[in-house]
């Protein structure tokens, strides 16, 4: 992309959520690495109901806006739609934003290649425009990144006299498994069986560390780091404790299987229960009487609350990180459009991601597919409807807002991850929560051969009555690639 001139006008609602347009501009640089760029953005207060982002604020919107333009460019240049994305995608030396800051890692081309293989792009793309009866086939790609991690949070854990490791988590539990997955970082550092780990979470009376909000753009990255840091500190305390009790220097000791023991001689050491008792007896830094000064205040209070209950370790995530953490999702879809009703069925869907190290394969697939489905819903049926004169919202119930249901998505969506660790974080994991939405929304629109001007783009937007009485679906014309659009069809939101 040699140049990108981006002018965004943002409908900010009555109280002005003013950041999305700016994020959109940054994400645009991330995806396409434009050689030259002018960016202008204007947030506007509007007499409409209050609104807030659901996922990938700014990112989902800009992907929906620009991906079809890239497809149009590919068509004009005679370049494959997959190739044009790979040409413009960043590598590890990529950049983003006004300051052209680096990424920590970017396996974008790898994700696209993996998706193309999973979806069988080379074969499937030939189906685009095929008509069988009233059904026209469309095939498309969506590529979506979003920020995927923060730093500077704290880890806090205790080995209690029962010999188990208690990992205190300040994050919530939304059913995404990150409450457990991020604790596994500590188990791995300690080489400890997972069934010897107890996760402590909930209200702050349980002495929780300073944490991120529970969000896809934050949690996995931030708390694998924080728990890794605290577990590393815990290993140090165990080694020092063992050296004090059993002689030698801390470096002579190893930690594994619920014991700290002398390297080369496992019989010289103590188990975690014994270590906890000794820590309580010794007090001070071993049982929470002292703690690192750089901890956040919330964590300091929690350590104080836990003092004397075992071997207590707390640490702030001070790992260096040079660059922005971004996760990428590429989605590929095959859809069938019924030209008589405008209904679209997604008959095949494959998504891949570069989110660093895979922490939990099934949960990752669920997060990715779920996000893609949400994006499909935003593109197709989920709506925000209010009377433009009176500003009163109507989509105030689940069935009126119309998010997609299970019958609206393929029964067996496919998924794969590049699974390459991010080198700037000790566990290598990045978040997954945000970017699938943009990919899902974009792929659904692109598969219909439609350059949507508005979202959502319900199937009825393609079924307009024109003055000639034909009532032809605009998308069918686009997919067939053989006709000009009527003015009505252009107004319907499906136009080049």
């Amino acid at each position: 992309m040699t140049a990108l001139d981006l002018y965004i006008v943002q409908d900010g609602g009555p109280y002005g959520r003013a950041s999305d347009y700016n994020t959109a501009g940054t994400v645009a640089t991330a995806i396409y690495q434009p050689e030259n760029m002018r960016f202008r953005g204007v947030p506007v207060y509007t007499n409409t109901p209050p609104r807030s982002a659901q996922r990938a604020p700014g990112g989902a919107q800009i992907v929906a806006m620009l991906e079809p333009v890239v497809d149009k460019a590919a068509r004009e240049l005679g370049v494959d739609r997959l190739e044009i994305r790979k040409i413009n995608a960043p590598g590890h030396d990529g950049w983003l934003g006004e300051q052209k800051g680096p990424f920590t890692s970017a396996y974008v081309r790898e994700a696209l290649d993996l998706g193309a293989e999973l979806f069988n792009w080379e074969e499937k793309k030939r189906l685009s425009g095929r008509r069988e009866g009233t059904k026209v086939t469309g095939v498309g790609i969506g590529l979506s990144p979003f920020t995927a991690g923060s730093t500077g949070r704290d880890g806090l854990m205790v080995i209690r006299p029962d010999g188990k490791l208690y990992v205190h988590q300040g994050i919530g539990n939304l059913g995404t498994h990150s409450i457990a997955d991020t604790a596994r970082a500590a188990a791995d550092v300690l080489d400890l069986s997972w069934d010897q780990v107890v996760i402590v979470w909930g209200d702050t009376s349980r002495h929780l560390p300073f944490s991120t909000v529970q969000a896809g753009s934050q949690t996995t990255h931030a708390h694998t780091r924080a728990n890794h840091a605290a577990a590393t500190a815990l290993v140090g305390l165990l080694q020092e404790l063992a050296a004090n009790e059993l002689g030698g220097s801390p470096g002579d000791y190893r930690v594994a299987d619920g014991r700290v023991f002398r390297a080369g001689n496992r019989t010289v050491g103590m188990d975690f229960a014994q270590a906890a008792f000794r820590a309580i007896a010794l007090g001070g830094k071993f049982s929470g009487g002292e703690f690192p000064e750089d901890l956040n205040d919330v964590t300091k209070a929690s350590v104080t609350g836990l003092a004397g209950q075992g071997l207590v370790a707390a640490a702030r995530d001070n790992y260096p990180r040079e660059g922005a953490v971004f996760t990428w999702v590429a989605s590929f879809a095959q859809v069938e459009l019924d030209v008589e009703t405008g209904e679209v069925e997604i008959v095949d869907l494959a998504s891949t991601t570069d989110c660093g190290t895979v922490m939990h394969p099934r949960s990752l697939a669920a997060q990715t597919n779920g996000g893609v489905f949400q994006g499909i819903g935003m593109a197709k049926s989920q709506r925000w409807v209010f009377d433009p004169k009176w500003g009163i919202p109507f989509t105030k119930r689940f069935y009126t807002a119309r998010p997609p249901g299970m019958l609206d998505v393929p029964r067996n969506p496919r998924f794969a991850a590049v699974n390459q660790p991010d080198p700037h974080t000790p566990v290598g994991a990045k978040g997954i929560g945000e970017p699938p939405v943009g990919a899902g929304g974009r792929v659904r629109l692109r598969s219909r051969g439609c350059h949507g001007r508005t979202l959502p783009l319900p199937h009825t937007a393609h079924l307009r009555h024109d003055s000639g009485g034909a009532g032809r679906p605009a998308t069918a014309l686009r997919l067939a690639g053989n006709a000009r659009l009527t003015e009505k069809e252009k107004q319907s939101g499906c136009h080049s």
């Binding site: 209050p50 009703t341 405008g342 069935y399 119309r402 249901g405 609206d408 307009r464």
Partner: protein, 333 residues
Amino acid sequence: MAVIRDMIPPFELFQPAGVDDAVRLMQEHGDQGWVLAGGLDTFDWFKDRIKRPSAVIDLGGIDELRGISAGADGGLEIGAMTSLTDISENADVVGGYPLLATSAGLVATPQIRNQGTLGGNIAQDTRCWYYRSGWPCYRAGGNICYAATPRSMNREHCIMGASRCVAVNPSDTAPALVALDAEMVVASTSGERTYAATDFFIGPDLDITRMTVLEPGDLLTQIRLPAPWSGARHYFEKICDRKSWDFSLASVASMLNVEGGVIQDARLVVNGIAPYPVRMGAAEAAVRGRAPSDETGQMAGEIAVEGSRALRHNDYKIALTRNLVKRAIRDAA
């Protein structure tokens, strides 16, 4: 923020054990009484505090309103409180009246079909969001239709049958019942009367505050189906934004009697485009004596939308109706 208030205003609850008791209670409470069937139309109204009846008459305990049994002349009699799941799965309905079985099986979700009743699905109020949000429109007793102004959000509203109000009938089963020549049995303290399904649903030109003939004190008790057409071809299709828990943007039900490759008789009904299920009489007449082909369907579709008039956001319904009618002729099986 959404105006959803989950506190339902207090009311007096009656749970009659028989139809006679129910209609007596309905008569007693008049327009202050509310008939509760499956509750799926009711509780949104109540939670939003837009409907505030002083008495609720719960039909859940009236066994005589449930069940599917053989009717006169080879037909079926279906109690109004029969669940949509029972109807969609009943062998006699599936075998003899696939239009009804299919349409009932497409209502909302399995959970709602388990709880929802055929009578409730037929008699439910319109889903016009201006009306259901409590705006003082014609249908609510006011003097304006908020959905018909130049700036209104009216993608879901009607393209025909409007008379001041532009709301549409939301029922999935209603067009099937009209196509099947069903009869509606209505009880009141004055006795029992029956209506042809096509007459049961009314437009705002007759009464802008109601969608059916039911007045306060009237109870829909039974739906009677005549004997099915021998060898008939059927077609039902519901178009909506998503495949579950959604009301139709338009739906079509057709029943064709085809002999020797020629349509002898036809029933053709479209819902979601008018305040009542629209029986396409002119199209029915036009297809008689013709093959059920794409050309015949196209002709029927063109006839069906004659006189239709789009609002600002729903001109797609004209094309959609035309195409659905075409499919209902061409693809009936």
